[in-house]
């Protein structure tokens, strides 16, 4: 890295807000995925103007820039694949405005997802997108990746809850798009920028919708002796037009692991459970809960429990949301996949995942958003064993290909990043890429922002300055 750039960054931000020692940079070469990419300098701006100045300096010195929130992403979206400057939004953490009457909040990108809910729950409101990482993931990262979570089934993804953005474009220009209502004339630019994985602009301010808490939430746990019964239950709930707010499946092996870790109240001896939530008016939630329980029993559920109070509800959700953490006790690393299938194909997909795992020699756990067909197979592996790592990556790819072949998609909520960019041709044609590339270049013509993401590099859509990735830990660089 050019020492003159470091000097300029320090003079702009102060020495406390610039990291350039290797030991520090190493902390920023990971996220929640199996990918790696080390930045050459990490900076912590406090204002939009500083972000803009950083972008201008990057252009002047011709180095790439990548934005980063808490680094909880699962597709390498916030990794510095091309080296360069990493802009970490950890010092832009203010909630700038709360308009409770109109259910809007204006926040800086570094605000933690759950902190938005904490700031407004006294008024009976919450921020609906609820990724499992919501205790640490930032809203800026959620916007970049268009994050979802268990309640996406009823509430939608981040994009359905963002009405306006302030952006810093790759040329350093500061622009605003959208309006508080979420209804400004012209093209839906918010719709384009949310989920663009940091490849079009850096987001410096976000206006989000707040959602009113439902009058009644009923949380049900249905316990099954076979995975097939549980997955058929999900397909039937959907087909019968019952619309739970969340419908999560955990397989038996995963349940036992979670119980060992947390004592969440899951049965240890079942093949699968469904953790489901219905909400709404008392009358609606009760009728839906009864309908859900009927479908479960018709599909041979061993037992259907209903959480008696908030404490029980919280405990069940804690088990779900900390599942990946619990898995961490079993192996040095795990690979959380993210694929989507049409919901009616769930029984078939789970069988195929099991077969792929068996063939590759992995026990694959399944903890996922069954209600919208969003699979999260989890592969446990040791990254120090390069053959095992390669096998895990190969099995992951096979599972994602299977999702696509069933009429599904590459990613439901984690993003493409540098994890799946080479798989994009499974879904998109050259013409599709050509248009996506033109849109990309309309904002980020030099790929100075987050290079090496989304677009397959092997198809000639790639960019310069792309470093190595998918390298097992400890292997020679």
């Amino acid at each position: 890295m050019n020492p003159a750039l470091i000097r300029d960054l320090i003079s702009l931000l102060g020495p406390a807000n610039v990291l350039s020692q290797t030991a520090d940079l190493m902390l920023y070469e990971f996220d929640g995925s199996v990918e790696k990419g080390r930045p050459e300098v990490v900076v912590f701006p406090r204002t939009t103007e500083e972000v803009s100045r950083i972008m201008q300096l990057a252009n002047q010195f011709q180095v790439p820039v990548v934005g980063r929130g808490a680094g909880t992403g699962l597709s390498g979206g916030a990794l510095a694949r091309g080296g360069g400057i990493m802009v970490v939004f950890a010092r832009m953490t203010r909630i700038l405005e709360l308009d409770l009457e109109n259910c809007r909040a204006v926040v800086q990108p570094g605000v933690v997802n759950l902190d938005i809910t904490r700031a407004v729950e006294h008024a009976g409101l919450y921020f609906a997108p609820d990724p499992s990482s919501q205790k640490s993931a930032t809203i800026g990262g959620n916007v970049a990746e268009n994050s979802g979570g268990p309640h996406t089934l009823a509430c939608g993804l981040t994009t359905n809850h963002v009405t306006a953005l302030e952006l810093v474009l790759p040329n350093g220009e500061i622009v605003r798009v959208g309006n508080p209502l979420g209804d400004s004339a012209g093209y839906d630019l918010c719709g384009l920028f949310v989920g663009s994985e940091g490849t079009l602009a850096l987001v410096t301010e976000i206006t989000v919708k707040l959602t009113r808490k439902a009058e009644l939430v009923k949380t049900l746990l249905a316990i099954f002796d076979t995975v097939g019964d549980a997955s058929r239950t999900v397909a039937e709930i959907t087909a019968r037009g019952i619309t739970p707010a969340a419908c999560e499946m955990l397989d038996g092996w995963t349940l036992a692991v979670i119980e060992d870790y947390l004592n969440a109240g899951f049965p240890r001896d079942s093949a699968a459970v469904l953790l489901m939530e219905v909400e709404g008016l008392r009358e609606a939630a009760e009728a839906q809960a009864a309908a859900v329980a009927d479908v479960c029993r018709a599909n041979r559920a061993r037992e259907v429990r209903t959480a008696r109070d908030d404490r029980e509800r919280d405990s069940l959700w804690k088990g779900r949301k900390n599942a990946f953490g619990a898995m961490g006790r079993l192996a040095p690393s795990n690979y959380v996949l993210d694929g989507v299938i049409p919901r009616s194909k769930l029984p078939e997909a789970l069988e195929r995942i099991h077969e792929i795992g068996t063939k590759a020699g992995f026990r694959i756990g399944n903890i996922f958003h069954a209600g919208d067909g969003n699979l999260h197979p989890i592969i446990l592996f040791d990254p120090r064993n390069s053959r095992e790592f390669a096998n895990a990556v190969a099995a992951a790819e096979e599972i994602i290909r299977m999702c696509v072949s069933l009429g599904g998609s590459l990613t439901g909520e984690h993003g493409v990043g540098m994890e799946k960019n080479e798989l994009m041709p499974l879904l998109f044609t050259d013409a599709d890429f050509d248009l996506m590339r033109r849109l990309h270049d309309a904002f980020n013509p030099d790929s100075s922002l987050n290079p090496g993401k989304i677009f397959p590099i092997s198809k000639g859509c790639g960019e310069i300055r792309v470093g190595k990735s998918r390298r097992p830990l400890g292997s020679p660089a």
Partner: protein
């Protein structure tokens, strides 16, 4: 203009003569104000659409894509208009998986036909839009026209899950997919919503569908002042109760609505007599839910001191919501000169409403107003007179509303206005935030500017 004499012949050799309409009377049907296309094509499938676009790109022709043409007059007339691309031959339902609640449908299919297919499986698409009986799926999405059910089901951006379209280079492209949760690639299909055909020719749209509610009903509350009606609306929205929609309207609108209802449902029409300020809240779902909402609405109305509080059962509610849904359509021919504003803002105070409805003294202007729960207000200026003076007074008033709206920082447009008025002011109002970015989006999609040039915001 690059209209060549043999344009129709060349299009015929491209698509076959049965796909090209070349008589002047045919072309007139596709006119946008006084812009008449030189030729009309009716491609049979997306590949033919792509061929037409490639031809247009090579020949530097301007295209306007359309469905049933119910909203061709929205926006500005195109700067150039060589070929009308009628997409109504694209009517296939490509995939419908009721068990997955997903649908992939050609853009030219009428909404009403689609509704029948879905209803047979107990489902529906919550695009409850004006011109419902004639509109195509593609036109409803491309126009971005407001749905009555936005409060409960969201706007089309919330349930459109993918699209196929032909870009300005004549390439058949897609984005999104057929699953309900998907973040693969840019959400390009969201850009097409409300783009008025300026980015691409939409050939196919993928949606999530929803179960049809078991039953529905509505509640009509009447008030003598805008203050009490607005306060009631606010209390209804703040209740957090799951209404499908809440529409507030003024006595002038009530009078027109009553006239509409009289054709089909006299008892409902009579509820609007005498005209006053009304709030209509409608709801659907499980029987017990609907009963609860009836009771809650009545309670809220009695607390608010409503002069009238009436429940409308399912059949009456269907008449009522249909008439409200169609307001944008039936307001248009309701006077010799009609301008309809669409204002989008979070707060509407009594002072705002008074200001919006202020008519110049001794003017023949009527100003019916309809405000929905999502902060979208339709304000019509109806001018009964046809003299130069009347026109001037309408134009003056339209300018005043625009300047008031701009001061309020609201997104205000004029989706319907007489041609003479449209030639004198910008129906898109003030430039929206991020406009230079929209220009970049337009040139990325349509580098040669062949799709509906000039119809959209800022002359895009």
């Amino acid at each position: 203009m690059t209209i060549t004499a043999n344009l129709s012949a060349r299009l015929e050799s491209l698509l076959g003569s049965e796909r090209v309409l070349s008589s002047e009377s045919d072309s007139r049907i596709y006119a946008i104000e006084d812009c008449i296309p030189a030729a009309v094509v009716k491609p049979a499938n997306a590949q033919e659409v792509a061929e037409v676009v490639r031809f247009a790109a090579a020949e530097n022709l301007a295209l306007v894509c359309c469905g049933s043409r119910s909203k061709l007059n929205m926006g500005l007339p195109p700067r150039r208009y060589d070929v009308a691309v009628d997409l109504t031959a694209l009517t296939e339902i490509v995939h419908y998986d009721p068990e997955d609640l997903t649908l992939s449908v050609d853009a030219g299919l009428p909404l009403a036909s689609l509704a029948d297919v879905l209803a047979a499986r107990g489902q529906f698409l919550p695009l409850s839009v004006p011109f419902f009986k004639t509109s195509t799926v593609g036109g409803s999405v491309a126009s971005g026209i407001d749905s009555m059910l936005r409060l409960q089901y969201g706007a089309s951006r919330d349930f459109l899950i993918g699209a196929e379209f032909v870009d300005g280079k004549g390439q058949l492209c897609k984005s999104g997919g057929r699953v309900v949760k998907n973040v693969t690639g840019y959400d390009i299909h969201k850009l097409l919503i409300g783009s008025l055909g300026t980015l691409a020719a939409i050939t196919r749209l993928n949606f999530r569908t929803f179960p049809l509610p078991e039953t529905s009903a509505g509640h009509l509350a009447g008030f003598s002042t805008p203050e009490t009606a607005l306060a009631f609306r606010k209390s209804v929205l703040a209740s957090g109760l799951p209404f499908s929609g809440v529409q507030l309207f003024d006595p002038g609108f009530a009078e027109l609505l009553s006239g509409k209802l009289r054709e089909g449902n006299r008892p409902a029409a009579e509820l609007l007599d005498p005209p006053r300020w009304f709030v209509y809240a409608f709801f659907s779902g499980h029987g017990a839910v609907v009963r609860r909402l009836r009771d809650e609405s009545n309670d809220l109305a009695s607390k608010a001191g409503a002069a009238l509080s009436e429940i409308l059962d399912q059949p009456s509610n269907e008449f009522f919501t249909e008439a409200l849904r169609e307001a944008f359509a039936w307001l248009q021919p309701s006077a010799p000169n009609v301008a309809i504003f669409r204002l989008a803002q979070q707060h509407f105070t009594p002072a705002d409403v008074a200001q919006l409805q202020q008519a110049p003294p001794a003017s023949p202007l009527k100003t019916p107003l309809l405000l929905n729960a999502s902060g979208i207000c339709l304000l019509a200026l109806l001018s009964a007179g046809g003299t130069q003076n009347d026109r001037e007074s309408l134009e003056r008033r339209v300018r005043e509303v625009f300047s008031f709206a701009n001061a309020n920082a609201s997104g205000t447009t004029l989706p319907h206005a007489p041609a003479w008025l449209k030639s004198r002011l910008d129906v898109w109002g003030s430039t929206p935030p991020g406009f230079p970015l929209m220009q970049r989006v337009k040139s990325a999609f349509d580098p040669q500017n062949i799709f509906s040039p000039g119809r959209f915001v800022g002359g895009l």
